[in-house]
Symmetry: C2
Subunit: 144 residues, 2 copies
């Protein structure tokens, strides 16, 4: 209905992101995970022993919100912690989590592949560099 909106990059960014988040949320719901939880699991898999604070800095999640998120993954049996020192806890996948993560990665890979497939070939290679530049530019101004 509204061509003015449908060609604005900002609005399109919002809508495309929301649409893809809905796709990812639906896929991960079959595994009992939310998108952020799945991303955290993958990060722990890639960086065994990482702390809550470090995850939060990497994924831009506040410490206060990491606590219940990690607790939920722990309750589900996918992660466990071992004390690094008196105040930090290194997080690791449990044995069950190590098996589970491959299903998580499969869902996310399918999701990412779908995004790529939706883009007409001439534009395909340009999306990632364009989005990286937008994100990087915002970081530069917004947070230093």
């Amino acid at each position: 209905m509204d061509d003015a909106l449908r060609s604005r990059p900002g609005y399109l960014l919002r809508r495309a992101s929301a649409a893809m988040m809905a796709d990812l949320t639906a896929r991960l719901a079959t595994l009992g995970l939310r998108p952020t939880e799945a991303t955290v699991l993958m990060l722990i898999d890639d960086h065994p022993g990482i702390t809550q604070s470090s995850i939060g800095r990497t994924l831009q999640i506040k410490r206060a919100n990491m606590a219940p998120l990690a607790a939920r993954l722990s309750d589900q049996g996918w992660i466990a912690g071992r004390a690094v020192d008196g105040r930090s806890t290194g997080l690791y996948l449990t044995d069950a989590g190590g098996v589970f993560i491959s299903r998580v990665r499969a869902e996310i890979d399918a999701h990412e592949a779908r995004i790529i497939a939706l883009i007409p070939e001439p534009h395909r290679a340009h999306l990632v560099p364009a989005l990286k530049a937008i994100w990087a530019g915002a970081e530069r101004v917004g947070e230093g």
Copy 2:
């Protein structure tokens, strides 16, 4: 820190969108508006007499959420309604709203221009078509 994440289109889409939303939110806060309210104002300006339901369908906002949103814009004095029939109300900008909208458009135009400027020139022309394709593809599966 995490290169695996930083080259995934899905994750980048999320982060780029969140970063740009933060930029837009900050700009519009100076006018006392939230992003959705500004978009609704522009839509009413482009389509005088449009109803709440029609706005909701265009912008993918639920009827239940349109009611307080329209009430807030009305309380601020930017819009007013005239009955179309017994159940529908056409929305229009007030005189004050008609003056105000140019400031809203200026903020949004600056925001959109900033996004474009952040993208390196070789990739610039590809973002809008790529995002359109992603959004359209999602619509086809998710709701069509």
